[in-house]
Protein backbone atom coordinates (compact mmCIF):
# COMPACT_ATOMS: atom_id res chain seq x y z
CA UNK A 1 0.00 0.00 0.00
CA UNK A 2 2.86 2.40 -0.68
CA UNK A 3 1.69 5.83 -1.66
CA UNK A 4 2.98 6.62 -5.10
CA UNK A 5 1.91 8.16 -8.37
CA UNK A 6 -0.44 6.21 -10.59
CA UNK A 7 0.05 4.53 -13.90
CA UNK A 8 -2.64 4.81 -16.55
CA UNK A 9 -2.68 1.06 -17.02
CA UNK A 10 -4.28 0.57 -13.63
CA UNK A 11 -7.26 2.60 -14.74
CA UNK A 12 -7.93 1.60 -18.28
CA UNK A 13 -7.67 -1.74 -19.98
CA UNK A 14 -5.03 -1.87 -22.71
CA UNK A 15 -7.82 -2.49 -25.18
CA UNK A 16 -9.48 0.91 -24.99
CA UNK A 17 -11.63 0.53 -28.06
CA UNK A 18 -14.12 -1.84 -26.41
CA UNK A 19 -17.42 -1.55 -28.20
CA UNK A 20 -20.31 0.30 -26.59
CA UNK A 21 -22.69 -2.13 -24.89
CA UNK A 22 -25.65 -2.70 -27.21
CA UNK A 23 -28.30 -2.06 -24.60
CA UNK A 24 -26.79 1.24 -23.70
CA UNK A 25 -26.53 2.32 -27.33
CA UNK A 26 -30.21 1.51 -27.75
CA UNK A 27 -30.99 3.65 -24.70
CA UNK A 28 -28.88 6.49 -26.09
CA UNK A 29 -30.78 6.50 -29.39
CA UNK A 30 -34.11 5.96 -27.64
CA UNK A 31 -33.85 9.00 -25.36
CA UNK A 32 -32.74 11.18 -28.28
CA UNK A 33 -35.85 10.16 -30.21
CA UNK A 34 -38.06 10.72 -27.17
CA UNK A 35 -36.53 14.15 -26.59
CA UNK A 36 -37.17 15.18 -30.19
CA UNK A 37 -40.78 14.01 -30.14
CA UNK A 38 -41.41 15.68 -26.76
CA UNK A 39 -39.83 18.92 -27.97
CA UNK A 40 -42.06 19.02 -31.04
CA UNK A 41 -45.21 18.13 -29.14
CA UNK A 42 -44.83 20.71 -26.36
CA UNK A 43 -43.22 23.71 -28.04
CA UNK A 44 -45.89 26.38 -28.62
CA UNK A 45 -44.21 27.68 -31.79
CA UNK A 46 -44.31 24.22 -33.36
CA UNK A 47 -47.37 22.39 -32.06
CA UNK A 48 -49.42 25.27 -30.70
CA UNK A 49 -49.56 23.62 -27.25
CA UNK A 50 -49.46 26.03 -24.30
CA UNK A 51 -49.79 25.27 -20.61
CA UNK A 52 -52.52 27.84 -20.09
CA UNK A 53 -54.32 26.52 -23.18
CA UNK A 54 -54.15 23.04 -21.73
CA UNK A 55 -55.60 24.41 -18.48
CA UNK A 56 -58.51 26.09 -20.24
CA UNK A 57 -59.21 22.84 -22.04
CA UNK A 58 -59.14 20.85 -18.79
CA UNK A 59 -61.99 23.02 -17.50
CA UNK A 60 -64.24 21.73 -20.27
CA UNK A 61 -63.28 18.09 -19.85
CA UNK A 62 -65.14 16.26 -17.16
Amino acid sequence: MADDVDSQEEFEAKETSKALPGGWLLLFIGVILFAIVYFIAYTPAISGWTQTGAYEQSLHNK
Binding site: V5, E10, K18, L20, W24, F28, Y42
Partner: protein, 470 residues
Protein backbone atom coordinates in the same frame (compact mmCIF):
# COMPACT_ATOMS: atom_id res chain seq x y z
CA UNK B 1 8.18 5.16 -13.33
CA UNK B 2 8.40 8.63 -11.93
CA UNK B 3 11.02 11.01 -10.76
CA UNK B 4 8.96 11.88 -7.69
CA UNK B 5 8.96 9.98 -4.42
CA UNK B 6 6.37 9.88 -1.71
CA UNK B 7 8.25 12.44 0.36
CA UNK B 8 7.63 15.04 -2.34
CA UNK B 9 3.92 14.92 -1.55
CA UNK B 10 4.28 15.37 2.17
CA UNK B 11 3.24 19.03 2.17
CA UNK B 12 0.43 18.49 -0.35
CA UNK B 13 -0.86 15.50 1.58
CA UNK B 14 -1.15 17.67 4.65
CA UNK B 15 -3.32 20.08 2.64
CA UNK B 16 -5.49 17.19 1.47
CA UNK B 17 -5.85 15.98 5.05
CA UNK B 18 -6.74 19.43 6.37
CA UNK B 19 -9.51 19.72 3.78
CA UNK B 20 -10.89 16.32 4.68
CA UNK B 21 -10.86 17.00 8.43
CA UNK B 22 -12.48 20.41 7.91
CA UNK B 23 -15.20 18.95 5.76
CA UNK B 24 -15.90 16.22 8.33
CA UNK B 25 -16.24 18.91 11.00
CA UNK B 26 -18.77 20.90 8.96
CA UNK B 27 -20.48 17.70 7.91
CA UNK B 28 -21.15 16.65 11.50
CA UNK B 29 -22.70 20.05 12.26
CA UNK B 30 -24.87 19.89 9.14
CA UNK B 31 -25.96 16.32 9.93
CA UNK B 32 -26.99 17.27 13.45
CA UNK B 33 -28.93 20.22 12.06
CA UNK B 34 -30.59 17.85 9.59
CA UNK B 35 -31.80 15.43 12.23
CA UNK B 36 -32.99 18.29 14.41
CA UNK B 37 -35.09 19.94 11.69
CA UNK B 38 -36.60 16.56 10.84
CA UNK B 39 -37.80 16.43 14.46
CA UNK B 40 -39.31 19.92 14.14
CA UNK B 41 -41.65 18.46 11.51
CA UNK B 42 -43.51 16.47 14.12
CA UNK B 43 -42.66 18.47 17.23
CA UNK B 44 -43.15 22.09 16.06
CA UNK B 45 -43.29 23.31 19.66
CA UNK B 46 -39.51 22.84 19.79
CA UNK B 47 -38.97 25.78 17.44
CA UNK B 48 -37.31 28.61 19.31
CA UNK B 49 -36.84 32.25 18.47
CA UNK B 50 -34.06 33.46 16.15
CA UNK B 51 -31.58 30.84 15.02
CA UNK B 52 -33.56 28.09 16.73
CA UNK B 53 -36.38 28.37 14.23
CA UNK B 54 -36.85 25.87 11.39
CA UNK B 55 -36.40 28.34 8.53
CA UNK B 56 -32.87 29.28 9.60
CA UNK B 57 -31.67 25.80 10.58
CA UNK B 58 -32.98 24.39 7.33
CA UNK B 59 -30.82 26.69 5.21
CA UNK B 60 -27.87 26.01 7.52
CA UNK B 61 -28.35 22.26 7.01
CA UNK B 62 -28.47 22.45 3.21
CA UNK B 63 -25.73 25.02 2.59
CA UNK B 64 -23.25 23.76 5.16
CA UNK B 65 -23.81 20.26 3.81
CA UNK B 66 -23.33 21.31 0.18
CA UNK B 67 -20.46 23.73 0.69
CA UNK B 68 -18.95 22.65 4.02
CA UNK B 69 -19.03 18.88 3.77
CA UNK B 70 -19.22 18.13 0.05
CA UNK B 71 -17.27 21.01 -1.48
CA UNK B 72 -14.55 20.83 1.17
CA UNK B 73 -14.09 17.10 0.74
CA UNK B 74 -14.13 17.47 -3.04
CA UNK B 75 -11.43 20.15 -3.15
CA UNK B 76 -9.18 18.06 -0.90
CA UNK B 77 -9.78 14.92 -2.92
CA UNK B 78 -9.31 16.84 -6.21
CA UNK B 79 -5.86 17.86 -4.97
CA UNK B 80 -5.11 14.27 -4.02
CA UNK B 81 -6.21 12.85 -7.38
CA UNK B 82 -4.56 15.59 -9.44
CA UNK B 83 -1.14 15.08 -7.85
CA UNK B 84 -1.22 11.36 -8.57
CA UNK B 85 -2.63 11.52 -12.09
CA UNK B 86 -0.25 14.28 -13.17
CA UNK B 87 2.68 12.58 -11.40
CA UNK B 88 3.86 15.77 -9.78
CA UNK B 89 3.27 17.79 -6.61
CA UNK B 90 0.80 20.69 -6.72
CA UNK B 91 2.05 23.67 -8.71
CA UNK B 92 1.46 26.29 -6.02
CA UNK B 93 1.48 24.31 -2.75
CA UNK B 94 1.35 27.46 -0.57
CA UNK B 95 -1.74 28.74 -2.38
CA UNK B 96 -3.33 25.31 -2.04
CA UNK B 97 -2.65 25.42 1.71
CA UNK B 98 -4.11 28.93 1.87
CA UNK B 99 -7.36 27.68 0.29
CA UNK B 100 -7.95 25.47 3.35
CA UNK B 101 -8.12 28.50 5.60
CA UNK B 102 -10.12 30.49 3.10
CA UNK B 103 -12.56 27.61 2.81
CA UNK B 104 -13.13 27.37 6.54
CA UNK B 105 -13.53 31.12 6.84
CA UNK B 106 -16.12 31.17 4.05
CA UNK B 107 -18.20 28.38 5.58
CA UNK B 108 -17.95 29.90 9.06
CA UNK B 109 -19.08 33.33 7.85
CA UNK B 110 -21.80 31.92 5.59
CA UNK B 111 -23.11 29.38 8.09
CA UNK B 112 -23.16 31.85 10.96
CA UNK B 113 -24.92 34.34 8.70
CA UNK B 114 -27.69 31.89 7.86
CA UNK B 115 -28.32 31.30 11.56
CA UNK B 116 -28.51 35.08 12.00
CA UNK B 117 -31.07 35.27 9.17
CA UNK B 118 -28.66 36.65 6.56
CA UNK B 119 -29.67 34.85 3.39
CA UNK B 120 -29.93 35.51 -0.33
CA UNK B 121 -32.93 33.13 -0.52
CA UNK B 122 -31.56 31.54 -3.68
CA UNK B 123 -31.70 27.75 -3.40
CA UNK B 124 -28.26 26.13 -2.90
CA UNK B 125 -26.78 29.62 -2.90
CA UNK B 126 -28.06 31.12 0.31
CA UNK B 127 -24.86 32.43 1.91
CA UNK B 128 -24.91 36.24 1.91
CA UNK B 129 -22.49 38.05 -0.34
CA UNK B 130 -19.40 38.27 1.92
CA UNK B 131 -19.28 34.46 2.18
CA UNK B 132 -20.03 34.06 -1.51
CA UNK B 133 -17.22 36.44 -2.35
CA UNK B 134 -14.83 34.34 -0.25
CA UNK B 135 -16.03 31.23 -2.08
CA UNK B 136 -15.39 32.88 -5.46
CA UNK B 137 -11.81 33.76 -4.41
CA UNK B 138 -11.37 30.24 -3.04
CA UNK B 139 -12.60 28.73 -6.28
CA UNK B 140 -10.34 30.90 -8.46
CA UNK B 141 -7.26 30.04 -6.38
CA UNK B 142 -8.15 26.35 -6.43
CA UNK B 143 -8.65 26.51 -10.20
CA UNK B 144 -5.22 28.10 -10.62
CA UNK B 145 -3.61 25.35 -8.55
CA UNK B 146 -5.44 22.47 -10.22
CA UNK B 147 -5.36 23.69 -13.83
CA UNK B 148 -1.75 24.84 -13.38
CA UNK B 149 -0.73 21.43 -12.03
CA UNK B 150 -2.50 19.71 -14.91
CA UNK B 151 -0.80 21.94 -17.50
CA UNK B 152 2.60 21.25 -15.95
CA UNK B 153 1.90 17.53 -15.60
CA UNK B 154 4.48 14.73 -16.03
CA UNK B 155 2.01 12.29 -17.58
CA UNK B 156 0.95 13.03 -21.12
CA UNK B 157 -2.57 11.61 -21.09
CA UNK B 158 -5.23 13.06 -18.85
CA UNK B 159 -7.28 10.29 -17.26
CA UNK B 160 -11.14 10.54 -17.15
CA UNK B 161 -11.13 11.83 -13.58
CA UNK B 162 -9.19 14.88 -14.70
CA UNK B 163 -11.79 15.59 -17.39
CA UNK B 164 -14.52 15.64 -14.78
CA UNK B 165 -12.41 17.75 -12.44
CA UNK B 166 -11.83 20.34 -15.17
CA UNK B 167 -15.54 20.31 -16.08
CA UNK B 168 -16.49 20.83 -12.42
CA UNK B 169 -14.03 23.69 -12.02
CA UNK B 170 -15.30 25.65 -15.03
CA UNK B 171 -19.02 24.86 -14.61
CA UNK B 172 -19.21 25.81 -10.95
CA UNK B 173 -17.17 28.95 -11.64
CA UNK B 174 -19.53 30.14 -14.39
CA UNK B 175 -22.80 29.38 -12.63
CA UNK B 176 -21.72 30.54 -9.18
CA UNK B 177 -20.46 33.90 -10.39
CA UNK B 178 -23.55 34.61 -12.51
CA UNK B 179 -26.03 33.64 -9.80
CA UNK B 180 -24.14 35.79 -7.31
CA UNK B 181 -24.53 39.02 -9.26
CA UNK B 182 -26.10 41.00 -6.44
CA UNK B 183 -26.17 44.58 -5.25
CA UNK B 184 -25.00 44.75 -1.63
CA UNK B 185 -27.34 46.75 0.62
CA UNK B 186 -25.29 46.51 3.79
CA UNK B 187 -22.69 44.15 5.19
CA UNK B 188 -25.05 41.18 5.32
CA UNK B 189 -27.84 42.06 2.91
CA UNK B 190 -28.00 42.10 -0.85
CA UNK B 191 -30.53 42.07 -3.67
CA UNK B 192 -29.93 40.06 -6.84
CA UNK B 193 -29.72 41.94 -10.14
CA UNK B 194 -32.17 39.47 -11.72
CA UNK B 195 -35.88 39.87 -10.95
CA UNK B 196 -39.06 37.79 -11.22
CA UNK B 197 -39.37 35.16 -13.94
CA UNK B 198 -35.90 35.96 -15.28
CA UNK B 199 -34.45 35.58 -11.79
CA UNK B 200 -36.19 32.22 -11.49
CA UNK B 201 -34.74 31.05 -14.79
CA UNK B 202 -31.20 32.11 -13.77
CA UNK B 203 -31.58 30.55 -10.33
CA UNK B 204 -32.60 27.13 -11.60
CA UNK B 205 -30.01 27.16 -14.33
CA UNK B 206 -27.65 27.62 -11.38
CA UNK B 207 -29.36 25.30 -8.91
CA UNK B 208 -29.62 22.36 -11.25
CA UNK B 209 -26.01 22.68 -12.34
CA UNK B 210 -24.66 23.27 -8.86
CA UNK B 211 -25.99 19.78 -8.23
CA UNK B 212 -24.78 18.79 -11.69
CA UNK B 213 -21.21 19.90 -11.09
CA UNK B 214 -20.71 19.35 -7.37
CA UNK B 215 -22.79 16.26 -6.78
CA UNK B 216 -22.52 14.71 -10.25
CA UNK B 217 -19.46 15.66 -12.31
CA UNK B 218 -17.17 16.01 -9.28
CA UNK B 219 -18.43 12.81 -7.69
CA UNK B 220 -17.94 11.01 -11.02
CA UNK B 221 -14.31 12.22 -11.00
CA UNK B 222 -13.96 10.42 -7.68
CA UNK B 223 -15.83 7.37 -8.91
CA UNK B 224 -13.66 6.88 -11.99
CA UNK B 225 -10.52 7.18 -9.86
CA UNK B 226 -11.42 5.18 -6.78
CA UNK B 227 -13.37 2.36 -8.42
CA UNK B 228 -10.30 0.97 -10.26
CA UNK B 229 -8.14 1.80 -7.23
CA UNK B 230 -10.31 -0.02 -4.73
CA UNK B 231 -11.09 -3.02 -6.93
CA UNK B 232 -7.83 -3.36 -8.86
CA UNK B 233 -9.92 -3.58 -12.04
CA UNK B 234 -9.49 -1.17 -14.97
CA UNK B 235 -12.51 0.80 -16.25
CA UNK B 236 -14.43 -1.22 -18.81
CA UNK B 237 -14.72 1.04 -21.85
CA UNK B 238 -12.78 4.17 -22.70
CA UNK B 239 -15.09 4.93 -25.60
CA UNK B 240 -18.15 4.82 -23.35
CA UNK B 241 -16.40 7.17 -20.92
CA UNK B 242 -15.78 9.67 -23.72
CA UNK B 243 -19.35 9.71 -25.04
CA UNK B 244 -20.82 9.81 -21.56
CA UNK B 245 -18.59 12.69 -20.52
CA UNK B 246 -19.24 15.04 -23.41
CA UNK B 247 -22.96 14.37 -23.68
CA UNK B 248 -23.36 14.79 -19.90
CA UNK B 249 -21.65 18.17 -19.67
CA UNK B 250 -23.41 19.35 -22.83
CA UNK B 251 -26.93 18.39 -21.79
CA UNK B 252 -26.83 19.33 -18.11
CA UNK B 253 -26.83 23.08 -18.71
CA UNK B 254 -30.13 22.92 -20.67
CA UNK B 255 -32.12 21.10 -18.05
CA UNK B 256 -32.39 23.59 -15.15
CA UNK B 257 -35.88 24.81 -15.97
CA UNK B 258 -37.35 21.38 -15.18
CA UNK B 259 -37.46 22.80 -11.64
CA UNK B 260 -39.93 25.39 -12.97
CA UNK B 261 -42.49 23.19 -14.70
CA UNK B 262 -45.96 24.82 -14.69
CA UNK B 263 -44.59 28.14 -13.42
CA UNK B 264 -45.02 31.31 -15.51
CA UNK B 265 -41.62 31.01 -17.26
CA UNK B 266 -42.05 30.57 -21.03
CA UNK B 267 -43.40 27.16 -22.09
CA UNK B 268 -40.60 26.55 -24.59
CA UNK B 269 -37.87 26.89 -21.97
CA UNK B 270 -39.66 24.31 -19.81
CA UNK B 271 -40.11 21.98 -22.76
CA UNK B 272 -36.45 22.15 -23.83
CA UNK B 273 -35.42 21.50 -20.22
CA UNK B 274 -37.71 18.46 -19.92
CA UNK B 275 -36.54 17.00 -23.24
CA UNK B 276 -32.89 17.46 -22.27
CA UNK B 277 -33.56 15.92 -18.86
CA UNK B 278 -34.85 12.77 -20.52
CA UNK B 279 -31.80 12.73 -22.79
CA UNK B 280 -29.57 12.93 -19.69
CA UNK B 281 -30.57 9.38 -18.73
CA UNK B 282 -28.19 8.08 -21.41
CA UNK B 283 -24.92 9.79 -20.39
CA UNK B 284 -25.69 9.19 -16.72
CA UNK B 285 -26.20 5.52 -17.37
CA UNK B 286 -23.03 5.48 -19.44
CA UNK B 287 -21.13 5.78 -16.17
CA UNK B 288 -23.43 3.31 -14.43
CA UNK B 289 -22.91 0.71 -17.14
CA UNK B 290 -19.18 1.38 -17.21
CA UNK B 291 -19.00 0.85 -13.46
CA UNK B 292 -21.01 -2.37 -13.49
CA UNK B 293 -19.12 -3.81 -16.46
CA UNK B 294 -15.85 -3.02 -14.71
CA UNK B 295 -16.74 -5.03 -11.62
CA UNK B 296 -18.49 -7.70 -13.69
CA UNK B 297 -14.98 -9.04 -14.35
CA UNK B 298 -15.00 -10.30 -10.79
CA UNK B 299 -18.03 -9.72 -8.57
CA UNK B 300 -16.19 -11.49 -5.76
CA UNK B 301 -14.40 -8.24 -5.05
CA UNK B 302 -17.60 -6.89 -3.51
CA UNK B 303 -16.71 -9.23 -0.64
CA UNK B 304 -12.92 -9.28 -0.74
CA UNK B 305 -12.32 -5.57 -1.28
CA UNK B 306 -14.41 -3.78 1.33
CA UNK B 307 -14.47 -0.45 -0.53
CA UNK B 308 -15.88 -1.91 -3.76
CA UNK B 309 -19.40 -1.99 -2.33
CA UNK B 310 -19.26 1.70 -1.46
CA UNK B 311 -18.66 2.60 -5.09
CA UNK B 312 -20.93 0.00 -6.64
CA UNK B 313 -23.87 0.76 -4.34
CA UNK B 314 -23.10 4.45 -4.85
CA UNK B 315 -23.30 4.17 -8.63
CA UNK B 316 -26.46 2.07 -8.28
CA UNK B 317 -28.20 4.88 -6.41
CA UNK B 318 -26.82 7.30 -8.98
CA UNK B 319 -28.45 5.09 -11.61
CA UNK B 320 -31.84 5.15 -9.84
CA UNK B 321 -31.46 8.86 -9.22
CA UNK B 322 -30.80 9.64 -12.87
CA UNK B 323 -33.91 7.80 -14.01
CA UNK B 324 -36.06 9.26 -11.26
CA UNK B 325 -34.91 12.84 -11.86
CA UNK B 326 -35.73 12.99 -15.58
CA UNK B 327 -39.04 11.21 -14.97
CA UNK B 328 -39.97 13.84 -12.39
CA UNK B 329 -39.32 16.49 -15.03
CA UNK B 330 -42.16 15.20 -17.23
CA UNK B 331 -45.20 17.46 -16.91
CA UNK B 332 -47.58 14.67 -16.00
CA UNK B 333 -45.34 13.45 -13.16
CA UNK B 334 -44.37 16.94 -12.06
CA UNK B 335 -48.01 17.93 -11.64
CA UNK B 336 -48.39 15.20 -9.01
CA UNK B 337 -45.11 15.20 -7.08
CA UNK B 338 -43.63 18.68 -7.49
CA UNK B 339 -43.63 20.69 -4.23
CA UNK B 340 -44.17 17.47 -2.21
CA UNK B 341 -41.93 15.35 0.01
CA UNK B 342 -41.25 13.05 -2.95
CA UNK B 343 -38.63 15.51 -4.18
CA UNK B 344 -37.08 15.64 -0.71
CA UNK B 345 -36.73 11.85 -0.87
CA UNK B 346 -35.21 12.12 -4.35
CA UNK B 347 -32.58 14.67 -3.28
CA UNK B 348 -31.65 12.69 -0.20
CA UNK B 349 -31.23 9.44 -2.10
CA UNK B 350 -28.67 11.25 -4.25
CA UNK B 351 -26.92 12.90 -1.33
CA UNK B 352 -27.07 10.02 1.18
CA UNK B 353 -26.89 7.16 -1.30
CA UNK B 354 -24.57 8.30 -4.06
CA UNK B 355 -22.47 11.22 -2.82
CA UNK B 356 -22.05 10.12 0.79
CA UNK B 357 -21.02 6.57 -0.19
CA UNK B 358 -18.53 7.67 -2.83
CA UNK B 359 -17.02 10.48 -0.75
CA UNK B 360 -16.66 8.42 2.43
CA UNK B 361 -15.32 5.52 0.34
CA UNK B 362 -12.72 7.85 -1.16
CA UNK B 363 -11.72 9.14 2.28
CA UNK B 364 -11.36 5.55 3.55
CA UNK B 365 -8.95 5.01 0.67
CA UNK B 366 -6.99 8.25 1.03
CA UNK B 367 -6.28 8.54 4.74
CA UNK B 368 -4.49 5.16 5.16
CA UNK B 369 -2.62 5.79 1.87
CA UNK B 370 -1.31 9.09 3.13
CA UNK B 371 -0.05 7.42 6.32
CA UNK B 372 1.14 4.34 4.49
CA UNK B 373 -0.97 2.15 6.73
CA UNK B 374 -4.28 0.25 6.74
CA UNK B 375 -7.70 1.44 7.81
CA UNK B 376 -8.23 1.17 11.57
CA UNK B 377 -11.12 -1.26 11.27
CA UNK B 378 -12.76 -2.78 8.20
CA UNK B 379 -15.47 -4.08 10.50
CA UNK B 380 -16.42 -0.56 11.60
CA UNK B 381 -16.33 0.53 7.96
CA UNK B 382 -18.77 -2.25 7.12
CA UNK B 383 -21.02 -1.27 10.04
CA UNK B 384 -20.93 2.31 8.75
CA UNK B 385 -21.85 1.05 5.29
CA UNK B 386 -24.87 -0.95 6.38
CA UNK B 387 -26.16 1.78 8.70
CA UNK B 388 -26.00 4.57 6.11
CA UNK B 389 -27.54 2.24 3.54
CA UNK B 390 -30.44 1.34 5.85
CA UNK B 391 -30.93 4.92 7.00
CA UNK B 392 -30.97 6.25 3.47
CA UNK B 393 -33.43 3.66 2.20
CA UNK B 394 -35.83 4.31 5.09
CA UNK B 395 -35.53 8.03 4.45
CA UNK B 396 -36.08 7.91 0.68
CA UNK B 397 -38.90 5.40 0.59
CA UNK B 398 -40.78 7.10 3.41
CA UNK B 399 -40.61 10.42 1.63
CA UNK B 400 -41.68 8.95 -1.72
CA UNK B 401 -44.80 7.48 -0.16
CA UNK B 402 -45.52 10.70 1.74
CA UNK B 403 -45.01 12.71 -1.45
CA UNK B 404 -47.40 10.65 -3.55
CA UNK B 405 -49.97 10.80 -0.75
CA UNK B 406 -49.62 14.58 -0.48
CA UNK B 407 -49.93 15.00 -4.24
CA UNK B 408 -52.96 12.71 -4.45
CA UNK B 409 -54.75 14.35 -1.50
CA UNK B 410 -54.14 17.82 -2.90
CA UNK B 411 -55.68 16.76 -6.19
CA UNK B 412 -58.59 14.71 -4.82
CA UNK B 413 -62.03 16.13 -5.61
CA UNK B 414 -65.57 15.29 -4.53
CA UNK B 415 -68.14 14.26 -7.16
CA UNK B 416 -69.38 17.88 -7.25
CA UNK B 417 -65.91 19.10 -8.22
CA UNK B 418 -65.00 20.61 -4.86
CA UNK B 419 -61.72 19.71 -3.13
CA UNK B 420 -61.88 16.68 -0.91
CA UNK B 421 -59.18 17.54 1.65
CA UNK B 422 -58.23 20.65 3.56
CA UNK B 423 -54.56 21.48 4.01
CA UNK B 424 -54.79 20.57 7.67
CA UNK B 425 -56.04 17.08 6.81
CA UNK B 426 -53.13 16.57 4.42
CA UNK B 427 -50.57 17.64 7.03
CA UNK B 428 -52.18 15.39 9.65
CA UNK B 429 -51.63 12.37 7.39
CA UNK B 430 -47.95 13.26 6.97
CA UNK B 431 -46.95 13.14 10.61
CA UNK B 432 -46.14 9.39 10.84
CA UNK B 433 -44.02 9.59 7.69
CA UNK B 434 -42.10 12.52 9.07
CA UNK B 435 -41.46 10.57 12.26
CA UNK B 436 -40.20 7.62 10.23
CA UNK B 437 -37.95 9.96 8.28
CA UNK B 438 -36.30 11.03 11.54
CA UNK B 439 -35.66 7.37 12.32
CA UNK B 440 -33.94 6.95 8.94
CA UNK B 441 -31.92 10.09 9.55
CA UNK B 442 -30.79 8.98 13.00
CA UNK B 443 -29.65 5.61 11.63
CA UNK B 444 -27.78 7.38 8.83
CA UNK B 445 -26.07 9.80 11.21
CA UNK B 446 -25.12 6.92 13.53
CA UNK B 447 -23.42 5.31 10.53
CA UNK B 448 -21.59 8.53 9.74
CA UNK B 449 -20.38 8.75 13.34
CA UNK B 450 -18.88 5.25 12.96
CA UNK B 451 -17.12 6.62 9.89
CA UNK B 452 -15.76 9.64 11.76
CA UNK B 453 -14.53 7.41 14.59
CA UNK B 454 -12.85 5.04 12.14
CA UNK B 455 -11.03 7.90 10.41
CA UNK B 456 -9.96 9.47 13.71
CA UNK B 457 -8.51 6.14 14.90
CA UNK B 458 -6.72 5.62 11.58
CA UNK B 459 -5.18 9.07 11.88
CA UNK B 460 -4.09 8.29 15.43
CA UNK B 461 -2.53 5.06 14.25
CA UNK B 462 -0.88 6.90 11.35
CA UNK B 463 0.55 9.62 13.56
CA UNK B 464 2.00 7.01 15.92
CA UNK B 465 3.59 5.34 12.91
CA UNK B 466 5.11 8.61 11.71
CA UNK B 467 6.44 9.30 15.22
CA UNK B 468 8.01 5.84 15.47
CA UNK B 469 9.79 6.34 12.14
CA UNK B 470 11.13 9.74 13.09
Amino acid sequence: MSVYKMGDYHYDNQTVRKFIYSSIFWGVLALIAGVWISILFWAPGLNGPGWLTYGRLRSFHVNVMAFGLVLGALIGIFYYITIRLTKRPLLFPKIARFTVYLFNLAIAVGGWGLLMGYTKSLAYNEFEWPASLLIVILWVLMAVVILGTIIKRKEEQMYISLWYIIATVVTLAVIYVVNNLVVPAGLFKSYPVFAGVNGANVEWWYGHNAVGSELTMATLALFYYFLPKSTGLPIYSHRLSIIAFWSLIFAYLWAGAHHLVYTPIPDWIQTVAIAMSIFLIAPSWGSVVNGFYTVREDWGRMRTHYLTKFFILGITFYGIQTVQGPTQALRVVSSLIHYTDWVVGHVHMGAMGWDALVITGAIYYIIPKIYDTEIYSEKIANTHFWLVLTGQIIYSITMWIAGIQEGAMQKAVNPDGTLKYTWDQIVAKDIPYWQFRTLGGVIFVAGMLFFVYNILMTVRKGNALVASKA
